[in-house]
Amino acid sequence: MNRMPTWADVILVPLVSLLLAAFFSAIVLLAIGENPWEALKLMVEGSVGSTYAWGYTLYYATNFIFTGLAVAVANHAKLFNIGAEGQAQLGGLGVALVCLFLPFPHWSIALIVAICAGALFGAAWAAIPAFLQAKRGSHIVITTIMFNFIANALLVYLLVNVLKPSGTMEPATASFPDAAHLPSFNAMFSSEETVRFRGAPANVSFFVAVAACIGVWALIWRTRLGYQLRAFGHSESAARYAGISPTKIIMVAMLISGGLAGCMAINNVMGEAERLVLNSVEGAGFIGIAVALMGRSHPFGVFLAALLFGFLYQGGAELALWASIPREMIVVIQALVILFTGALDNMVRAPIERIFNRVGRPPKPERKLEPAE
């Protein structure tokens, strides 16, 4: 049982995990002859040390929030959606189509339509595996991962043969018209004297992501549908006994999940690239799985985990730019952080709990936290 005070649970355990990860990363860096202190400084300064750095960190975090939420929602219904990658790609297609072919008077309207289009395309891509699971019992893990490849093939075909402007080498659509450009943090927060977030890709869709976190929280814990979702996730037979239709729950959970994954496109396609490129998702769909697991499928946890991953991505990029550390090593460092904060959580938690128990001060009975598994 959890005998730890809340501060230890929320702050101490992740902190110790991070320190352990930093320690092992330092050993790795020493082994390849780099100075770990310098590397850490580069990473921290490069990812949170300036508005420019925050601009990148938040940009990556926005991607991960969307895909993390997508995986988390499906997870509440015990559906392991590993197809967020493909759903986000299709979302990108939807966003690109409306941005390219609809004339928008203002970016705010473009954003709303793009959210709808991205969500619709992402949801549609998730609908087929969901239907196969609900009606035919085809396992969702297998079908969603296969749909990632189909999405890839579809996008390669469309970009190379249909959407690519002739005469260009790169398989990508034309750039979106100006009216469909989202305001970046640079445009939003810079005043005349001080330029903030210069050249950074973070944009208004970060706030959409935050709103999505709140929306998902309300959906899961404050609505009847969310209750049904969780009930189904805990026990399918009990849910069925209570009159909850498994078909409906599987379909709805996956549609929401796919829709959230598809919404990621407003950040990377509409906000950053302002055109659709090949492989625009770049593995964010898979990172979403780690984010959801680390965040215990709770929207707030997902938000924090996404920030951490944003930090790792941007810090890693700065490390690659200014230190002669091969990028494979940067992946190793990122993996160590994931390993310690996510997968090996109990390795740290159990001893700390024991210490608290042994010290023996009977802790005050605390309010039980919202169950968030």
Partner: protein
């Protein structure tokens, strides 16, 4: 060629060595990573060659994400690196936006054209080089069937395939060209196992020469070709040595020379469009001890005639990317 570049490079290096410490050149590799045994590695080799010869240093970065293109360009430009070389056509759009912001920095983009006053665009006539190896393939084939294994189905790879098919068809109008692409994700550039499967499939369709234009995956094609005792054709750098006697030739694309030249000429390098073709040995077929026995006199004459004819403009090799169609093969 090499001697000439070395000479030129040495003199250029001498000329700029005074200011070199202030403005180290920088190079940005594309997502494939600098040790892809192919395009990026060739760029890396060019940069290293320059560093070894001049004792200079250069900044470099391997990208992990598309969002980092602009980031890397801006950061290097702001840090004063000059010139900044980038390997890959994907930089076209970001560079177009960024180049006007840093008018004092010279950029070099390889494989794409960016029309800005401070940009040198280096493009290669891969279709011409592929045509030449196509001529050799058609003559080496005994079954009148040759294969092509591409990495991903993008215009650049179709350009390789189209030039190759034209070379084959011009030499032997009865020949069949079997073309396959490895995959639809960027992993396709690094999937030798699947490349090997495709090669086996092409062999079962009677192909006895297979040309690989597939980055790191190409190693799988050459390996299988060697195992099955047919000929493989390498790409980008000279890969003849990988399986001596089994690699018919390699379509070399001198990315290393392009990078080396850019670094040597330093910040004052001439901007504008630079086409590397057969004429200036930017592309070509590789001959060395490993494949000397495979190329007969007759083949040698034919391929040299073809090269001369292309140079003279008597043979116009169709460039797939010019109008997205190919007279010799369907995609």
């Amino acid at each position: 060629m090499t001697h000439l570049t070395k000479l030129l490079g040495a003199s250029a290096a001498l000329a700029i060595s005074a200011g070199a410490a202030l403005a180290d050149p920088a190079i940005i590799y594309d997502l494939g990573g600098k040790f892809d045994k192919s395009f990026n590695e060739s760029a890396f080799n060019g940069a290293t060659m320059w560093a070894d010869e001049t004792g200079g240093s250069f900044a470099e970065v391997e990208l992990q994400s598309d969002a980092q293109r602009e980031q890397a360009l801006r950061r290097f430009a702001e840090a004063g690196n000059n010139p900044i070389v980038m390997a890959g056509f994907s930089f076209e759009t970001p560079l177009n936006e960024i180049a006007p912001d840093y008018p004092d920095t010279t950029f070099v983009i390889i494989d794409a054209v960016v029309d800005q006053p401070n940009v040198r665009s280096v493009i290669f006539n891969e279709h011409e080089g592929s045509y030449l190896v196509g001529v050799l393939a058609a003559m080496a084939s005994e079954t009148d069937t040759v294969g092509f294994v591409g990495g991903m189905d993008i215009p650049l790879i179709r350009k390789f395939a189209c030039g190759y098919a034209q070379g084959v068809m011009a030499t032997n109008p009865d020949a069949t060209v079997v073309a396959n692409m490895i995959g639809t994700t960027p992993e396709a550039w690094n999937d030798p196992a699947k490349a090997s499967e495709l090669t086996l499939a092409q062999i079962s369709q009677d192909a006895d020469v297979v040309y690989a234009a597939a980055g790191g995956s190409g190693l799988g094609v050459l390996q299988t070709a060697a195992d099955e005792d047919i000929y493989g054709i390498g790409v980008d750098s000279n890969q003849n040595y990988l399986h001596p006697g089994q690699v018919l030739t390699s379509m070399v694309k001198q990315v290393d020379t392009a990078v080396y030249n850019a670094f040597s000429q330093g910040e004052d390098l001439e901007t504008g469009l630079m086409v590397m073709g057969i004429e200036n040995e930017g592309v070509g077929y590789a001959m060395d001890d490993n494949n000397a026995d495979l190329i007969s006199e007759e083949m040698m004459t034919a391929v040299d005639e073809a090269a001369a004819a292309i140079n003279a403009g008597d043979i116009m090799v169709h460039d797939y990317t010019s109008d997205e169609s190919c007279p010799a093969i369907d995609f």
